[in-house]
Symmetry: C2
Subunit: 503 residues, 2 copies
């Protein structure tokens, strides 16, 4: 078989894989939206079957042979070509999926299923001791997993590669350390600021039906076209792509909070725009989708924060918000509203954290899970270590484990190496955004008129269309001319909060 | 391999087949409800892939071997046992799916795809001549198909077996001929009746949002539990089962017609109740679902007509309808409303036909397609034959082909032998309903109080739970003690219309 033939076979096969995998996405979307409760057991069976079929399809020995044939050919001569990138990433995925023995995968699934129940009970009782032996088992499982995968320097790298291909813990730590130091200082300045936004503006009655209309108006204005997508409601907001021209985002509205539902919708719309910007010619192949969670998160966070919490954006949307939510926004000024959207205060729970504190939550987790995997921190010491660092970073004492090290489901699911992708996303977002503003100096003027096209066009051309052609760190260098740094994010934050808080 | 092992293998395999096939159902449901328009091409690809995978799964040579092993064993000794029934029906399905050569299936798909476009153009132009050569090809295709399937007496039997297993055209014709004669007479009496319902009662403004609420109230009251199902809206109403505890029905509301949306919902709820009444232990096996369209239609038509157009039912629902649709139903009496729900008049279009005329539309099609397949009617003569019979049966002259022989999509899709299942459904419904009323003499009293449980319970125990354990004709005999006859349906109609129309 020629390399060309092998590559064509891969293309056809991966497209079919993708069609089946995206069908599974629809099963999940439906489960979280419109499925009647009575269908839960059957849905679990359907999803289990599709998980097996997609796994069999991806790990088909033919796939390995086709990849090998391409690797041994001129097709991948130019490492920057799409062909080479597709083969590089398919190799990575294929190896990872075939290296875990079936028994290990099954044992892991049993362990994490059980551990999630235990974790839920432990969190309810706010008693880390209940979860401790299970966390020990999960660490063992993850070390074994890393051994199967293989790694050069440390276990953490092997695990993180599932979520952020090519990222290395040591390099991540280098960027994080600069960020950590400056963020702690920024948060101290905010805590002692001479003035604070009036957050109560956002905590008034906001009719949910009107919030729905307003969120649709906003995400549509920023470029999320309802011809090619939907906005629905669910308990835990997410975005899913069912295929080209069919990307679905979900948020959650609260009757006495305007911020949550809206910023959730903008965040998910950011993910959705990334999905919709994928190259349809590469459907099913790595160049046709993003496999770095950090890169994905950079898109959601940019639309949620850099755009969604900027004054320029609210110059355009605030008068519309005032017309829709007449009673709650009467007498509120644009400035007051914009400030309220940027309210910051330390809090225990990561998912409720604001833009200025969020990354400190993440970095704490990254450090701890890395230290646990290295054996530098014993599992029994996790609550103490957590609380100590929390005080150092955010200035408040954790009152109980459920507000501390038991708050997140991730570890009980076996997911270690996932957390840093959130902060990587924020870092990429800021670095890209700084670059866009260099290239399009009047971006704010466009936003003030409700024109978000220049930004979307830039993102589509520079990021979305490439999928996984370049690893996230490489794409960052290509697009911004510099390796990832904490400077753009901290500069952006320092400027914004300085003005709002008078610090 | 023992027969027991083979049977267990079949069970597991068919359950997986069913999980995948029901996933395809969800793709279709989503396409007709919530899918954004942009996703259409991708959805076609997903559905194409699932069609291929489910076909491959069902026609897996292992399936044939397992069936054969069971057939050669004591497992099927008692032909009335579930095991024997499952093997009997799996054999039927397996043979039918494996007997058509791949090339024939592909050629047929191309032909009918093209023919549907031509038919649409022909209907638009109301010119049968355009469609004529394609109908010739489709007849040839169907004759070939019947040859592949095999048959004892006539081509029609082989084709009808796809929709109504075991039914024979000659036997169907026997029942139809009695019905035809009496229905033509009944319709003449109705046409010359001394009084007519005031149909305008139903053709007033009925707010669509309120219609939605009312339809939900009604289908819920008759037993369609929203824990295990949904009611949505679509262009062409249908019912689909995604699995145990997840059956979805869809209707369509018109802002100036109360009848269509509501009776559509009750009709689909009837299908839905049948699906929800299936035996979950037989999931994926023939005893776990109905493969006779006539039997399925008997359930939808009973709830739509025998229940949904009865006075007793409206004794309960009419006061509620009056409260919801205050303006349009003010001053209307229960009697007037009940009569309006039973308005009848001949009309050209089958899908708009009322209960008294509908079966004449069907029987005309059954006769014509059977005569074409036998060569008794030439394709070129179809419009003339259609119009002549239409005048004979319904007393009106067809003004143009689009109101006559070009109105239905079925032939262009290659579906011949499908139409009679509609009337078989009506016949079964009436015969079952007469039996229920014998056994539960105070059924109307229950309905008047909004209690539809006795009927549903009877249907569940006598029909739903059995799936395809007995062929429709046999189930009818078992349940009612008599072979299918036109008497119950015509008696039911004669009585109802006599009272309403004073004839």
């Amino acid at each position: 078989m020629t390399a060309k033939d092998a590559y064509d076979k891969l293309r056809t096969h991966m497209k079919e894989y993708w069609l089946l995998a995206s069908t599974a996405e629809l099963l999940e979307w439906d489960q979280e939206t419109y499925m009647p409760k009575g269908g839960a057991d059957n849905r679990a069976d359907q999803m289990g079957l599709l998980a097996r079929l997609t796994h069999e399809m991806f790990t088909d020995p033919n796939v390995g042979e086709w990849i090998a044939t391409c690797e041994a050919s001129d097709l991948v001569k130019d490492p920057e070509s799409k062909e080479a990138a597709n083969i590089r990433e398919l190799r990575r995925m294929y190896d990872r999926r075939t290296r875990l023995p079936k028994e290990f995968v099954e044992e892991s699934a049993k362990l994490t299923s059980k551990a999630q129940h235990i974790w839920a009970d432990a969190r309810k009782a706010s008693d880390f001791k209940l979860f401790e032996p299970w966390l020990v088992k999960i660490l063992d499982m993850n070390r074994k997993k890393a051994d199967y995968y293989g790694y050069e320097t440390e276990v953490y790298d092997a695990l993180m590669d599932d979520y952020e291909p090519g990222a290395k813990a040591a390099e991540v730590e280098k960027v994080f350390s600069g960020l950590r130091k400056e963020l702690v200082e920024l948060n101290k300045r905010i805590a002692n600021a001479p003035r604070r936004p009036d957050i109560s503006i956002l905590k008034r009655p906001y009719d949910v039906k009107k919030q729905r209309i307003f969120a649709e108006l906003v995400v549509n204005a920023i470029g999320f076209d309802f011809r090619d997508g939907r906005l629905d409601e669910t308990v835990h907001p997410f975005c899913t792509s069912i295929g080209p021209g069919d990307t679905r985002i979900l948020t959650r509205y609260y009757p006495e909070d305007l911020g949550e539902g809206l910023t959730g919708a903008m965040h998910e719309a950011g993910h959705g725009l990334y999905e919709l910007g994928a190259d349809p010619k590469e459907l099913g192949m790595p160049c046709g989708f993003a496999d770095s969670l950090g890169m994905h998160e950079s898109q959601s966070r940019m639309w949620e924060n850099q755009v969604g919490r900027s004054r320029a954006t609210w110059v355009y949307f605030f008068p519309q918000a005032q017309r829709i939510f007449r009673e709650s926004l009467e007498g509120v000024s644009l400035e007051q509203f914009y400030h309220a959207m940027n309210y910051s205060a330390p809090s225990y729970i990561r998912v409720e954290a604001d833009e200025a504190t969020y990354n400190l939550h993440i970095m704490l987790r990254f450090e701890l899970e890395r230290a646990m995997l290295r054996g530098d921190v014993q599992v029994a010491d996790v609550p103490g270590e957590w609380n100590k660092r929390f005080k150092d970073y955010l200035g408040i004492e954790v009152d109980k484990d459920s507000n501390g090290c038991l708050q997140d489901i991730h570890w009980s699911m076996g997911a270690m190496g996932y957390f840093p992708t959130y902060t990587l996303g924020n870092l990429y977002a800021a670095q890209f955004y700084a670059k866009v503003r260099e290239e399009i100096s009047d971006l704010d003027k466009h936003f003030e008129k409700g024109d978000f096209t220049p930004l979307l066009k830039w993102l589509r051309e520079n990021i979305h269309i490439h999928g996984a052609r370049w690893r996230a760190a490489d794409l960052c260098k290509r697009v911004t001319g510099k390796p990832l740094s904490h400077r753009p994010l901290i500069d952006y934050m320092n400027n914004k909060y300085a003005e709002i808080y008078g610090i």
